[in-house]
Symmetry: C2
Subunit: 334 residues, 2 copies
């Protein structure tokens, strides 16, 4: 489907579900961005879920989002149970403003929901010549090291820095493989790798169905578990949001709002070394790229480089939508 | 050896090597702290190296450490090639001061050296009721994902938060196993696990000697590699220090100062939710500890908990010193 047409349809759907014009525009843009990036698990596949949650009154289509100024650097946002895109979009713009003023910005968001990819927001900060951390919690999917039951979300760590070219953006979950990969394996009847998930009884399983009912494992044992715990503290405890496994699954749990938390930290990378920062970044990347390659590699990519290429490759292409989702969209727009 | 006696001897040695009384005291305290924590690779085993580097004029025993105020939150420290302990001790105290004043502190240190464990500094911030990140670079030991040669250091990520009890302190390298573990395997003639290191030719090796000449691998492939790269940017590029594999090995490379960089970010955890922070942290930890345990586990520990127990267990014990190091100390004190 042509992007313009898709955007029109999405806006219509969001307007039918009582969003304001402005918020419908924001949500449509982020969903399309996910599709362009081939991050389909964060794109149109979630449209029906957002609408269902609005109907069930666990997402507020007309949120009154409040920004409380804590200091020139810090702001605290009550998202009023908005779709995550909306509060995170406001939040990152505030974090950018704060860092431009003081050198460092800190924005916490509470009462939010799933916001797509952390890199959406990191990229905006980097395009404003800032370094950035984005943290968000997520529904329980990972067993803490030593436990056999899910508690942490896949809790991504996201860090961005300007390079003068494609942004350096590290954005990766603390789970060994993505939940989407397990879901795909289930659909296609494939096995998942050994050691990435446990079944309900706490035993390692390579059966995707069992894994989805059980729990995923964090990267590198106690190291990944500790990183996921850190993200739970930063995005959950510190922001006054859900934590300790209390974030509701947006697809399965309609008993109340998700109460997700996000934290953005923005830093002016020039505060210590001025304009040398970008020059040194370029030197750094050049050195790494020149290293002798491991077997099977012809090139070393920095984090974010591949995603940037995907974006450029797809930017002027139409978006392919599965018949199932096309049908969902028709129904939602009826 | 009794701790008092050991401290006296260490101070004598540092004074003989031209450190001021104050700096000799700081360095002795951190070395003893490493021993109490059973982190022997950061303790007395490094004493001779520090002294050798002073003699070789690649550590400055009388550094003029300058603190430049960038803003109320940010400070930039030129360590003047001090022993890392000294500048990091000044740096974390400044970061604590800044966060107490403004809610957030950011301290970059350049021209520094090996500073022991990141948790030394994180703990001080947490004891001052702050959250904290500590980043430091290190000599090349890890191959970036896709390369077969070392470039990143073992680049630890360190995060701390107050709990009202033992501090939550995550402090782990981005390598699969510690370099010390490989060194021990070499000494004892043991094999190292498959998949943690490459030999000089870029092939996986389980031979410790070959691994030390080759390169270690990061945790979780591109994920750990990206995290190590992030630490290189934060502690190296951003602080105006060595990066991209240029940090000199303190034991092997006397061609110049290490020019290591450190970055401390301190945050008042109460700025958004006030006194509820510690209560919620305790709830969070309680929930995790109550989870059903995986096979082989009777307890789930949070990051920092084990280290805290070790510290308490050893605090009133004498410190055992190997004959080799005792001899080194005698010579250095001669």
């Amino acid at each position: 489907m042509k992007k313009n047409l898709l955007k029109l349809k999405l806006k219509q759907i969001f307007l039918k579900h009582k969003l304001s014009k402005k918020h419908a525009e924001i949500c449509s843009n982020y969903l399309i961005k996910a599709e362009i990036l081939e991050a389909k698990g964060h794109g149109l596949a979630r449209l029906k879920m957002y609408c269902d949650r609005i109907k069930a009154k666990v997402i507020n289509p007309k949120p009154e989002i409040k920004i409380k100024k804590i200091s020139s650097s810090a702001s605290y946002i009550d998202a009023d149970n908005s779709i995550g895109f909306i509060s995170a979009d406001i939040g990152i713009k505030q974090a950018i403003k704060n860092a431009k003023k003081t050198g460092i910005g800190l924005v916490a968001i509470k009462k939010s929901g799933h916001y797509g990819l952390s890199s959406f927001y990191a990229e905006q900060a980097v395009n404003n010549k800032l370094m950035v951390f984005c943290f968000t919690n997520a529904p329980a999917a990972l067993a803490p090291h030593g436990a056999k039951k899910s508690l942490f979300g896949t809790n991504p760590i996201c860090f961005g820095a300007p390079t003068g070219k494609a942004p350096f953006i590290y954005d990766a979950s603390t789970s060994i493989i993505n939940r989407g990969t397990i879901r795909r394996a289930e659909r296609l009847g494939l096995k998942i790798p050994y050691g990435v998930a446990l079944n309900k009884k706490g035993k390692i399983t390579t059966n995707a169905k069992e894994a989805l009912k059980g729990t995923q494992l964090p990267i590198a044992g106690f190291k990944g578990s500790g990183l996921a715990w850190m993200v739970d503290i930063l995005s959950g405890v510190f922001t006054g949001s859900s934590h300790g496994g209390k974030t509701k699954d947006p697809f399965d749990d309609f008993s109340g709002p998700q109460n997700m938390g996000h934290l953005f930290i923005t830093i002016n990378p020039k505060i210590f070394i001025g304009n040398k920062f970008v020059k040194e970044m370029q030197k750094n990347i050049k050195i790494v790229k020149k290293l002798p390659k491991a077997k099977g590699f012809t090139n070393i990519l920095y984090p974010g480089e591949r995603k940037n290429k995907t974006y450029k490759k797809n930017l002027n292409k139409d978006i392919s939508i599965s018949p199932k989702i096309l049908k969902e969209m028709e129904k939602l727009n009826a």
